[in-house]
């Protein structure tokens, strides 16, 4: 019990400590709350090139810190969100965008889900059509005769 409590306390300490450390490093002043919002959303939409799958806003890697600083400076310079994203992709490639743009290299990424949905619709349509055709299939005269014979035989038995 004491052991578990200790572990929880340690974990809590670690979490608080890292939050405090991050907060201590970066104190930024924004012209408006809108600018702060744009800063946060850009930090969330840009991927840290060093850490495989973390937004620069979540990462403590040095390059993520540099990128946040640059985002802040560019915002202060009055650049638009698109300009800032372009600024980053010019240097670090499409990798840094969590929402990659539709280009010659990424059409498969964007197009494949839509293509699969279309394929699914076509397959379902074909199956439905085949079923419908099978159930609508009218019996020929010979078949009807045979069916009647079978039914009557069962009745008489």
């Amino acid at each position: 019990m004491a052991h578990r409590l200790m572990r929880t306390l340690m974990l809590l300490l670690c979490v608080l400590w890292s939050a405090a450390a991050l907060a201590a490093i970066e104190v930024r002043e924004f012209d408006s709350s809108l600018q702060k919002q744009r800063y946060d959303s850009l930090n969330g939409s840009l991927r840290c090139p060093k850490c495989e799958n973390q937004a620069i806003g979540d990462s403590e890697s040095p390059i993520a810190g540099d990128m946040r600083e640059r985002v802040y400076q560019l915002l202060q310079d009055g650049r638009s969100d698109i300009e800032i994203q372009n600024y980053m992709t010019e240097r670090f490639g499409d990798f840094v965008l969590y929402n990659p743009r539709l280009t010659g290299r990424t059409w498969l990424l964007w197009g494949l889900p839509a293509a699969l949905v279309l394929l699914g619709i076509v397959v379902i349509a074909l199956i439905v059509r085949a079923r419908r055709r099978a159930s609508n299939h009218a019996l020929s005269a010979a078949e009807r005769e045979r069916l009647d014979a079978l039914v009557n035989r069962e009745r008489t038995q």
Binding site: P49, K50, E52, P62, D66, E90, R91, F92, G93
Partner: protein, 177 residues
């Protein structure tokens, strides 16, 4: 017969997916092509590590094929990489270093201890040139041709095998003089 063949579709899909994912296992996600390939070396204006009063700019990289290596005293892999860089220098390749996010004293100590294959070192304490190069760690190496165009990018450690198998062939490929 046709119906039977349709039953094979899941198997085919599985095989395609398996091959695709298996290939993915062998890919290194950190090895991405630099966006600078085919582009001019970024403009900069910084002092040299050797002499704080000497300012250099992108013209330093032009005129001769140059291997630009981004390093720092704080980077352990850079120390391992130095013998390979010295070997490349001995082959007559021009090397320029970028001392990235370092202090002048530590950078100079590093060169004294591990050797200096660089004609000159650009001192980039804030990492501004590194940022424009899209560098997110060290070491990174760029091959720049005589016209100042980036031709090859090597992310991370240059192994002794890489010298012969990657760097030298690229140098031969892009050499114009």
């Amino acid at each position: 017969m046709k119906r039977r063949l349709l039953l094979l579709i899941p198997l085919v899909l599985f095989v395609v997916l398996a091959v695709f994912l298996y290939r993915g296992l062998a890919l290194d996600p950190s090895a991405r092509d630099s966006t600078l390939l085919g582009q001019p070396f970024p403009i900069f204006r910084l002092s040299t590590l050797e002499d704080a009063d000497r300012q250099v700019d992108e013209s330093l990289i032009k005129g001769e094929m140059t291997l630009v290596n981004v390093w720092g005293e704080w980077c352990p892999t850079c120390k391992q990489e130095m013998p390979q860089l010295l070997a490349l220098e001995e082959r007559g390749i021009r090397l320029v270093g970028i001392d990235y996010k370092d202090t002048r004293e530590k950078g100079q100590e590093f060169l004294e201890e591990f050797g200096n294959p660089f004609e000159v070192n650009v001192f980039d304490p804030e990492g501004t040139l590194g940022f424009d190069l899209g560098v997110y760690g060290a070491p990174e190496t760029f091959l720049v041709d005589a016209d100042g165009i980036v031709r090859y990018h090597h992310t991370g450690y240059i192994t002794p095998e890489d010298v012969e198998q990657r760097i030298v062939p690229e140098v031969e490929k892009w050499r114009t003089d």
